[in-house]
């Protein structure tokens, strides 16, 4: 039972780290929450000499949660200025003007 719990904790802690690094926003709290809950359960099921590893996993999960919370609160969502996209918009507008003139000629 403890072994199974420990494996699950490791899996969810890895997922928590991945989700924290990736731009998953608050979605990262899902694996983090599960990892914390599993870490605590594993800690309770462990003997005194077996508690070091679950404690490390718990600390990692807590650090992840603080990291994600910080990202959510302090990093503003922004759209990068994309020169290619801006150029495309200018070209599309120029093309549209020509197409409108062609349409006007067709309708005459």
């Amino acid at each position: 039972m403890r072994k199974l719990l420990l494996i699950s904790t490791v899996v969810f802690t890895v997922l928590a780290i991945l989700f924290s690094v990736l731009p998953m926003d608050t979605l990262a709290f899902l694996p983090i929450g599960i990892a914390i809950a599993l870490s605590l359960t594993t800690l309770l099921k462990s003997d005194e000499n077996q508690k070091k590893f679950p404690k490390i996993l718990l600390i990692i999960s807590v650090i992840c949660s603080v990291f994600v919370l910080g990202k959510t609160l302090f990093i503003k969502d922004e759209v990068e200025v994309d020169q290619k996209f801006e150029q495309q918009k200018i070209e599309t507008k120029q093309e549209a003007k020509k197409e409108l003139e062609e349409l006007e000629n067709d309708l005459e």
Binding site: P23, M24, T26, L27, L30, I75, D77, V79, D82, L107
Partner: protein, 253 residues
Amino acid sequence: MKRILLLIPVFLILLSFSSASRMQVKAGERLVYNGSYNMSGLMTQLAQVTMSTENVSTAKNNYLHLSCELSTYSKWDKFFKIRDIYETYVHPVTLKPSLYKRSIDEGGYTKKEKYVFKNNKITSTVKKRTYPESSRTFNIKPTSIDAVSILYQLRLVDFSKMQAGQTKSYTIVFDEKEIPVTLRYMGKEEVKAGNLGTKECYKISIGAKTDALRGKDKNLIWLTADSKKIPALIKFSIPVGTGQLALSSATGI
């Protein structure tokens, strides 16, 4: 991530109904929205949607250029970059479309679409990825309009004269198909409207005969209950989940 591909079409369909009145839509308007998607019960901000208007003139005519852009936030760009433009050139007063263009780039998937409106016909030109360009002409109803211009007509509807539960039916052209759309006025509610603050809004439920929308009264739009009728909040339910577009900034209104 493919789920977010549905954001723009759904956004446009949600706004797809027109009005009887013919007030002028102002050039120089810019509305910015935060697009979020519900991932496992949590709203995750994915993209910014910008709607803008400007005057465009040819040698013979003046047009109003209505544009709707979607760009993913920079944090997503490395994983799934989206740069979409939906635009239309309409008569400044009647808002009748002459030219509709759609250019999408969604994680490398590209598609360009052009509709030329000529009387009750559309000549469409479509280019997907590396496939050859295809073109066809098809008939439309005299009242059918494109998905962008109709969203501006929506704001001309006089909801103050509508009773809760009252409906209106319209038709839009999207993906070379005519789609019947029905709106149902549901009354008034207060919602946050970005830099406009908390505003009293008209709540409208949208139903479209398309697989893109799911659920009854799950596709909703809130328009500020004033003369501007700015879309303040849009909630949508699609086959793969739910999401929303929340107004963050409105300028030039």
